[in-house]
Symmetry: C2
Subunit: 210 residues, 2 copies
Protein backbone atom coordinates (compact mmCIF):
# COMPACT_ATOMS: atom_id res chain seq x y z
CA UNK A 1 0.00 0.00 0.00
CA UNK A 2 3.05 2.18 0.41
CA UNK A 3 1.70 5.70 0.94
CA UNK A 4 4.80 7.05 -0.81
CA UNK A 5 3.31 5.84 -4.09
CA UNK A 6 0.60 8.46 -4.14
CA UNK A 7 -1.93 8.24 -6.94
CA UNK A 8 -2.23 11.89 -7.88
CA UNK A 9 0.11 13.35 -10.49
CA UNK A 10 3.04 14.96 -8.75
CA UNK A 11 3.85 18.64 -9.06
CA UNK A 12 7.35 19.49 -10.26
CA UNK A 13 8.47 20.13 -6.73
CA UNK A 14 7.07 16.86 -5.41
CA UNK A 15 8.59 14.98 -8.33
CA UNK A 16 12.03 16.40 -7.58
CA UNK A 17 11.70 15.51 -3.89
CA UNK A 18 10.58 11.97 -4.65
CA UNK A 19 13.35 11.25 -7.12
CA UNK A 20 15.92 12.86 -4.86
CA UNK A 21 14.78 10.75 -1.90
CA UNK A 22 15.22 7.60 -3.93
CA UNK A 23 18.77 8.53 -4.92
CA UNK A 24 19.75 9.78 -1.47
CA UNK A 25 18.51 6.57 0.14
CA UNK A 26 20.39 4.39 -2.31
CA UNK A 27 23.65 6.26 -2.79
CA UNK A 28 23.89 8.35 0.35
CA UNK A 29 23.92 12.13 0.66
CA UNK A 30 27.56 12.65 -0.28
CA UNK A 31 27.21 10.05 -3.01
CA UNK A 32 24.30 11.79 -4.70
CA UNK A 33 24.97 14.80 -6.91
CA UNK A 34 22.57 17.58 -7.78
CA UNK A 35 23.13 16.69 -11.44
CA UNK A 36 21.84 13.17 -10.77
CA UNK A 37 18.82 14.60 -9.00
CA UNK A 38 18.15 16.88 -11.95
CA UNK A 39 18.52 13.99 -14.41
CA UNK A 40 16.14 11.82 -12.39
CA UNK A 41 13.59 14.63 -12.33
CA UNK A 42 14.02 15.40 -16.01
CA UNK A 43 15.50 18.88 -15.65
CA UNK A 44 18.99 20.34 -15.54
CA UNK A 45 20.68 20.69 -12.18
CA UNK A 46 20.76 24.47 -12.38
CA UNK A 47 16.97 24.55 -12.61
CA UNK A 48 16.66 22.82 -9.23
CA UNK A 49 17.87 26.02 -7.65
CA UNK A 50 14.76 27.83 -8.83
CA UNK A 51 12.74 25.71 -6.38
CA UNK A 52 15.28 24.90 -3.68
CA UNK A 53 18.08 26.92 -2.13
CA UNK A 54 20.45 23.96 -1.95
CA UNK A 55 20.78 20.20 -1.94
CA UNK A 56 20.19 20.27 1.82
CA UNK A 57 16.90 22.12 1.30
CA UNK A 58 15.63 19.12 -0.68
CA UNK A 59 16.77 16.77 2.06
CA UNK A 60 14.85 18.89 4.57
CA UNK A 61 11.58 18.24 2.79
CA UNK A 62 12.18 14.49 2.79
CA UNK A 63 13.29 14.24 6.40
CA UNK A 64 10.83 16.58 8.04
CA UNK A 65 7.82 14.92 6.39
CA UNK A 66 9.04 11.57 7.69
CA UNK A 67 9.83 12.65 11.21
CA UNK A 68 6.61 14.62 11.62
CA UNK A 69 4.57 11.67 10.43
CA UNK A 70 6.38 9.28 12.77
CA UNK A 71 5.92 11.48 15.83
CA UNK A 72 2.29 12.18 14.99
CA UNK A 73 1.66 8.44 14.86
CA UNK A 74 3.35 8.03 18.24
CA UNK A 75 1.24 10.85 19.66
CA UNK A 76 -1.94 9.06 18.64
CA UNK A 77 -0.77 5.78 20.19
CA UNK A 78 0.17 7.42 23.48
CA UNK A 79 -3.10 9.32 23.56
CA UNK A 80 -5.31 6.33 22.86
CA UNK A 81 -3.90 3.73 25.21
CA UNK A 82 -2.71 3.54 28.76
CA UNK A 83 -2.10 -0.20 28.88
CA UNK A 84 1.62 -0.94 28.61
CA UNK A 85 1.17 -3.98 26.39
CA UNK A 86 -1.15 -2.17 23.98
CA UNK A 87 1.20 0.79 23.91
CA UNK A 88 4.10 -1.46 22.99
CA UNK A 89 2.28 -3.13 20.12
CA UNK A 90 0.92 0.24 19.04
CA UNK A 91 4.40 1.74 18.86
CA UNK A 92 5.74 -1.19 16.85
CA UNK A 93 2.88 -0.88 14.37
CA UNK A 94 3.14 2.92 14.18
CA UNK A 95 6.88 2.66 13.51
CA UNK A 96 6.42 0.11 10.74
CA UNK A 97 3.64 2.16 9.16
CA UNK A 98 5.79 5.28 9.16
CA UNK A 99 8.68 3.29 7.71
CA UNK A 100 6.38 1.86 5.06
CA UNK A 101 5.13 5.32 4.16
CA UNK A 102 8.65 6.81 4.04
CA UNK A 103 11.09 4.04 3.18
CA UNK A 104 13.68 6.33 1.61
CA UNK A 105 13.68 8.78 4.51
CA UNK A 106 14.08 5.86 6.91
CA UNK A 107 17.15 4.67 5.05
CA UNK A 108 18.63 8.15 4.90
CA UNK A 109 18.01 8.58 8.61
CA UNK A 110 19.77 5.30 9.36
CA UNK A 111 22.73 5.81 7.07
CA UNK A 112 23.51 9.46 7.66
CA UNK A 113 23.65 9.52 11.45
CA UNK A 114 26.97 11.34 11.42
CA UNK A 115 25.97 13.94 8.87
CA UNK A 116 22.79 14.83 10.75
CA UNK A 117 24.77 14.97 13.97
CA UNK A 118 27.43 17.41 12.79
CA UNK A 119 25.46 19.63 10.41
CA UNK A 120 23.88 22.55 12.29
CA UNK A 121 20.83 22.89 10.06
CA UNK A 122 19.65 19.37 10.95
CA UNK A 123 18.91 20.20 14.56
CA UNK A 124 15.28 19.24 13.96
CA UNK A 125 16.41 15.74 13.00
CA UNK A 126 18.37 15.39 16.23
CA UNK A 127 15.46 16.73 18.27
CA UNK A 128 13.02 14.30 16.64
CA UNK A 129 15.41 11.40 17.21
CA UNK A 130 15.62 12.36 20.85
CA UNK A 131 11.83 12.44 21.10
CA UNK A 132 11.55 8.98 19.52
CA UNK A 133 14.01 7.70 22.09
CA UNK A 134 12.05 9.27 24.94
CA UNK A 135 8.78 7.75 23.79
CA UNK A 136 10.24 4.26 23.52
CA UNK A 137 12.26 4.33 26.73
CA UNK A 138 9.23 5.70 28.58
CA UNK A 139 7.00 2.95 27.26
CA UNK A 140 9.55 0.22 27.96
CA UNK A 141 10.32 1.44 31.47
CA UNK A 142 6.64 1.56 32.30
CA UNK A 143 6.29 -2.04 31.15
CA UNK A 144 9.32 -3.05 33.19
CA UNK A 145 8.08 -1.37 36.35
CA UNK A 146 4.71 -3.09 35.99
CA UNK A 147 6.48 -6.42 35.73
CA UNK A 148 5.31 -7.00 32.16
CA UNK A 149 8.81 -6.70 30.66
CA UNK A 150 12.06 -8.07 31.99
CA UNK A 151 14.18 -5.94 34.29
CA UNK A 152 17.50 -7.72 33.81
CA UNK A 153 18.52 -5.80 30.67
CA UNK A 154 18.59 -1.98 30.65
CA UNK A 155 15.51 -0.52 28.92
CA UNK A 156 17.83 1.60 26.80
CA UNK A 157 19.38 -1.55 25.35
CA UNK A 158 16.00 -3.12 24.70
CA UNK A 159 15.11 0.03 22.78
CA UNK A 160 18.26 0.16 20.71
CA UNK A 161 18.18 -3.52 19.76
CA UNK A 162 14.56 -3.19 18.73
CA UNK A 163 15.02 0.07 16.90
CA UNK A 164 17.82 -1.05 14.61
CA UNK A 165 16.19 -4.38 13.87
CA UNK A 166 12.79 -2.80 13.23
CA UNK A 167 13.92 0.27 11.28
CA UNK A 168 16.14 -1.75 8.99
CA UNK A 169 13.32 -4.06 7.92
CA UNK A 170 13.05 -1.37 5.26
CA UNK A 171 16.26 -2.74 3.77
CA UNK A 172 14.95 -6.22 3.16
CA UNK A 173 11.19 -6.38 3.48
CA UNK A 174 9.17 -6.43 0.26
CA UNK A 175 5.49 -7.28 0.65
CA UNK A 176 4.26 -10.28 -1.31
CA UNK A 177 0.89 -11.97 -1.61
CA UNK A 178 2.06 -14.71 0.74
CA UNK A 179 3.65 -12.37 3.28
CA UNK A 180 2.08 -8.94 3.44
CA UNK A 181 2.90 -5.89 5.49
CA UNK A 182 0.47 -6.87 8.24
CA UNK A 183 2.20 -10.23 8.64
CA UNK A 184 5.53 -8.53 9.13
CA UNK A 185 4.05 -6.19 11.70
CA UNK A 186 2.45 -9.05 13.61
CA UNK A 187 5.67 -11.09 13.53
CA UNK A 188 7.81 -8.19 14.75
CA UNK A 189 5.34 -7.41 17.50
CA UNK A 190 5.28 -10.99 18.73
CA UNK A 191 9.02 -11.47 18.41
CA UNK A 192 10.05 -8.43 20.41
CA UNK A 193 7.22 -8.91 22.88
CA UNK A 194 8.51 -12.38 23.68
CA UNK A 195 12.08 -11.10 23.74
CA UNK A 196 11.21 -8.40 26.27
CA UNK A 197 8.76 -10.45 28.35
CA UNK A 198 9.28 -10.91 32.08
CA UNK A 199 8.94 -14.43 33.45
CA UNK A 200 5.41 -13.55 34.55
CA UNK A 201 4.52 -12.50 31.02
CA UNK A 202 6.12 -15.63 29.58
CA UNK A 203 4.01 -17.76 31.89
CA UNK A 204 0.89 -15.98 30.66
CA UNK A 205 2.00 -16.48 27.06
CA UNK A 206 2.44 -20.21 27.62
CA UNK A 207 -0.94 -20.58 29.35
CA UNK A 208 -2.49 -18.83 26.39
CA UNK A 209 -0.91 -21.20 23.89
CA UNK A 210 -2.29 -24.29 25.65
Amino acid sequence: MSAAASQQPLGRRELIVERAAELLARKGIAGTTVREIGDAAGILSGSLYHQFDSKDAIIDVVMSAYLEDLLERYRVVLEQTDDVTATFHGLVLASLRAIDAHPQATLIYQHEVHYFRVTPRYRYVRVAGERVREVWIGALEAAVSEGVFRGDIPARHLYLLLRDGLWLTVRWFRPTAAYAFDELAADCSRLYYQAFASTRTLRALLDQSN
Copy 2:
Protein backbone atom coordinates in the same frame (compact mmCIF):
# COMPACT_ATOMS: atom_id res chain seq x y z
CA MET B 1 39.62 -4.69 25.22
CA SER B 2 39.04 -3.69 21.60
CA ALA B 3 41.62 -5.62 19.58
CA ALA B 4 41.72 -2.74 17.12
CA ALA B 5 43.72 -0.80 19.71
CA SER B 6 46.84 -2.88 19.30
CA GLN B 7 49.71 -2.09 21.62
CA GLN B 8 52.60 -2.23 19.18
CA PRO B 9 53.61 0.89 17.29
CA LEU B 10 51.95 0.95 13.91
CA GLY B 11 53.85 0.95 10.66
CA ARG B 12 53.08 3.78 8.24
CA ARG B 13 50.83 1.55 6.23
CA GLU B 14 48.92 0.33 9.28
CA LEU B 15 48.60 3.88 10.56
CA ILE B 16 47.08 5.03 7.29
CA VAL B 17 44.64 2.14 7.28
CA GLU B 18 43.60 2.76 10.87
CA ARG B 19 43.02 6.47 10.42
CA ALA B 20 41.24 5.89 7.14
CA ALA B 21 38.94 3.32 8.75
CA GLU B 22 37.98 5.78 11.44
CA LEU B 23 37.10 8.47 8.90
CA LEU B 24 35.30 6.11 6.54
CA ALA B 25 33.19 4.74 9.38
CA ARG B 26 32.23 8.20 10.58
CA LYS B 27 31.76 10.13 7.36
CA GLY B 28 31.05 7.41 4.83
CA ILE B 29 33.10 6.44 1.79
CA ALA B 30 31.89 9.22 -0.51
CA GLY B 31 32.12 11.67 2.40
CA THR B 32 35.78 10.92 3.13
CA THR B 33 38.43 12.46 0.90
CA VAL B 34 41.95 11.20 0.35
CA ARG B 35 43.17 14.58 1.57
CA GLU B 36 41.45 13.96 4.91
CA ILE B 37 42.99 10.51 5.11
CA GLY B 38 46.41 11.99 4.41
CA ASP B 39 45.91 14.70 7.04
CA ALA B 40 44.81 12.15 9.63
CA ALA B 41 47.88 10.03 8.90
CA GLY B 42 50.21 13.02 8.94
CA ILE B 43 51.23 12.93 5.26
CA LEU B 44 50.09 14.61 2.08
CA SER B 45 47.39 12.92 0.07
CA GLY B 46 49.70 12.36 -2.88
CA SER B 47 52.01 10.27 -0.71
CA LEU B 48 49.21 7.81 0.01
CA TYR B 49 49.54 6.64 -3.57
CA HIS B 50 53.03 5.37 -2.91
CA GLN B 51 51.50 2.69 -0.67
CA PHE B 52 48.04 2.23 -2.15
CA ASP B 53 46.76 2.28 -5.71
CA SER B 54 43.58 4.12 -4.80
CA LYS B 55 41.14 5.03 -2.07
CA ASP B 56 39.37 1.72 -2.68
CA ALA B 57 42.62 -0.16 -2.10
CA ILE B 58 42.70 1.23 1.44
CA ILE B 59 39.08 0.21 1.96
CA ASP B 60 40.00 -3.30 0.80
CA VAL B 61 42.48 -3.71 3.63
CA VAL B 62 39.92 -2.61 6.20
CA MET B 63 37.08 -4.74 4.90
CA SER B 64 38.91 -7.94 4.09
CA ALA B 65 40.58 -8.09 7.51
CA TYR B 66 37.16 -7.73 9.13
CA LEU B 67 35.32 -10.24 6.97
CA GLU B 68 38.08 -12.84 7.20
CA ASP B 69 38.17 -12.51 10.97
CA LEU B 70 34.40 -12.82 11.24
CA LEU B 71 34.20 -15.91 9.05
CA GLU B 72 37.16 -17.54 10.79
CA ARG B 73 35.37 -17.09 14.12
CA TYR B 74 32.23 -18.65 12.65
CA ARG B 75 34.27 -21.55 11.32
CA VAL B 76 35.61 -22.29 14.79
CA VAL B 77 32.12 -22.17 16.31
CA LEU B 78 30.66 -24.50 13.70
CA GLU B 79 33.58 -26.88 14.08
CA GLN B 80 33.47 -27.05 17.85
CA THR B 81 29.79 -27.55 18.52
CA ASP B 82 26.94 -29.59 17.15
CA ASP B 83 24.34 -28.58 19.69
CA VAL B 84 21.96 -26.02 18.19
CA THR B 85 21.71 -23.95 21.36
CA ALA B 86 25.47 -23.80 21.86
CA THR B 87 25.93 -22.93 18.20
CA PHE B 88 23.48 -20.05 18.51
CA HIS B 89 25.18 -18.56 21.56
CA GLY B 90 28.56 -19.19 19.95
CA LEU B 91 27.57 -17.28 16.82
CA VAL B 92 26.25 -14.33 18.83
CA LEU B 93 29.47 -14.14 20.82
CA ALA B 94 31.66 -14.58 17.74
CA SER B 95 29.80 -11.80 15.96
CA LEU B 96 30.14 -9.39 18.86
CA ARG B 97 33.84 -10.21 19.24
CA ALA B 98 34.45 -9.55 15.55
CA ILE B 99 32.47 -6.33 15.80
CA ASP B 100 34.44 -5.32 18.87
CA ALA B 101 37.72 -6.03 17.10
CA HIS B 102 36.67 -4.16 13.93
CA PRO B 103 34.15 -1.50 14.91
CA GLN B 104 34.93 0.80 11.98
CA ALA B 105 34.71 -1.96 9.40
CA THR B 106 31.38 -3.02 10.87
CA LEU B 107 30.02 0.49 10.48
CA ILE B 108 31.32 0.78 6.94
CA TYR B 109 29.79 -2.57 6.08
CA GLN B 110 26.43 -1.48 7.46
CA HIS B 111 26.36 1.97 5.90
CA GLU B 112 27.74 1.25 2.45
CA VAL B 113 25.52 -1.64 1.41
CA HIS B 114 24.75 -0.02 -1.92
CA TYR B 115 28.32 0.89 -2.75
CA PHE B 116 29.56 -2.64 -2.08
CA ARG B 117 26.67 -4.01 -4.10
CA VAL B 118 27.28 -2.00 -7.25
CA THR B 119 31.08 -1.74 -7.30
CA PRO B 120 32.61 -4.73 -9.12
CA ARG B 121 35.82 -4.84 -7.09
CA TYR B 122 33.89 -5.56 -3.88
CA ARG B 123 32.72 -8.98 -4.95
CA TYR B 124 34.56 -10.47 -1.96
CA VAL B 125 32.40 -8.36 0.35
CA ARG B 126 29.25 -9.66 -1.28
CA VAL B 127 30.51 -13.24 -1.12
CA ALA B 128 31.38 -12.92 2.57
CA GLY B 129 27.98 -11.38 3.32
CA GLU B 130 26.34 -14.30 1.57
CA ARG B 131 28.38 -16.74 3.64
CA VAL B 132 27.41 -14.99 6.89
CA ARG B 133 23.78 -15.29 5.87
CA GLU B 134 24.19 -19.00 5.08
CA VAL B 135 25.80 -19.73 8.43
CA TRP B 136 23.08 -17.97 10.39
CA ILE B 137 20.12 -19.29 8.41
CA GLY B 138 21.57 -22.79 8.64
CA ALA B 139 21.98 -22.54 12.39
CA LEU B 140 18.52 -21.06 12.90
CA GLU B 141 16.78 -23.58 10.64
CA ALA B 142 18.47 -26.43 12.49
CA ALA B 143 17.21 -25.03 15.79
CA VAL B 144 13.71 -24.64 14.35
CA SER B 145 13.60 -28.17 12.99
CA GLU B 146 14.70 -29.55 16.37
CA GLY B 147 11.88 -27.65 18.03
CA VAL B 148 14.25 -25.43 20.00
CA PHE B 149 13.32 -22.24 18.11
CA ARG B 150 9.91 -21.09 17.01
CA GLY B 151 8.65 -22.06 13.58
CA ASP B 152 5.98 -19.39 13.18
CA ILE B 153 8.32 -16.70 11.82
CA PRO B 154 10.56 -17.38 8.77
CA ALA B 155 14.15 -18.14 9.82
CA ARG B 156 15.32 -15.53 7.34
CA HIS B 157 13.40 -12.87 9.25
CA LEU B 158 14.77 -14.04 12.57
CA TYR B 159 18.24 -13.69 11.09
CA LEU B 160 17.72 -10.22 9.65
CA LEU B 161 16.14 -8.81 12.81
CA LEU B 162 18.98 -10.20 14.88
CA ARG B 163 21.69 -9.14 12.49
CA ASP B 164 20.77 -5.48 12.29
CA GLY B 165 20.16 -5.21 16.02
CA LEU B 166 23.37 -7.02 16.89
CA TRP B 167 25.66 -5.44 14.29
CA LEU B 168 24.54 -1.93 15.14
CA THR B 169 25.38 -2.31 18.82
CA VAL B 170 28.65 -0.91 17.52
CA ARG B 171 26.89 2.42 17.07
CA TRP B 172 25.93 2.82 20.71
CA PHE B 173 27.78 0.36 22.93
CA ARG B 174 30.73 1.72 24.86
CA PRO B 175 32.09 -0.60 27.57
CA THR B 176 32.15 0.80 31.11
CA ALA B 177 33.23 -0.60 34.44
CA ALA B 178 29.60 -1.23 35.35
CA TYR B 179 28.63 -2.74 32.01
CA ALA B 180 31.45 -4.47 30.20
CA PHE B 181 31.61 -6.18 26.84
CA ASP B 182 30.82 -9.58 28.35
CA GLU B 183 27.63 -8.22 29.87
CA LEU B 184 26.47 -6.95 26.53
CA ALA B 185 27.21 -10.30 24.94
CA ALA B 186 25.33 -12.17 27.66
CA ASP B 187 22.35 -9.81 27.39
CA CYS B 188 22.15 -10.08 23.61
CA SER B 189 22.44 -13.84 23.79
CA ARG B 190 19.63 -14.13 26.33
CA LEU B 191 17.42 -11.59 24.63
CA TYR B 192 17.48 -13.14 21.17
CA TYR B 193 17.37 -16.65 22.60
CA GLN B 194 14.15 -15.82 24.39
CA ALA B 195 12.84 -14.02 21.32
CA PHE B 196 13.48 -17.04 19.10
CA ALA B 197 12.47 -19.71 21.62
CA SER B 198 9.75 -22.24 20.81
CA THR B 199 7.07 -22.83 23.44
CA ARG B 200 8.96 -25.94 24.51
CA THR B 201 12.13 -23.91 25.04
CA LEU B 202 10.19 -21.24 26.90
CA ARG B 203 8.80 -23.86 29.24
CA ALA B 204 12.32 -25.08 29.94
CA LEU B 205 13.47 -21.53 30.54
CA LEU B 206 10.71 -20.98 33.09
CA ASP B 207 11.41 -24.24 34.90
CA GLN B 208 15.03 -23.18 35.11
CA SER B 209 14.18 -19.82 36.67
CA ASN B 210 12.15 -21.43 39.46
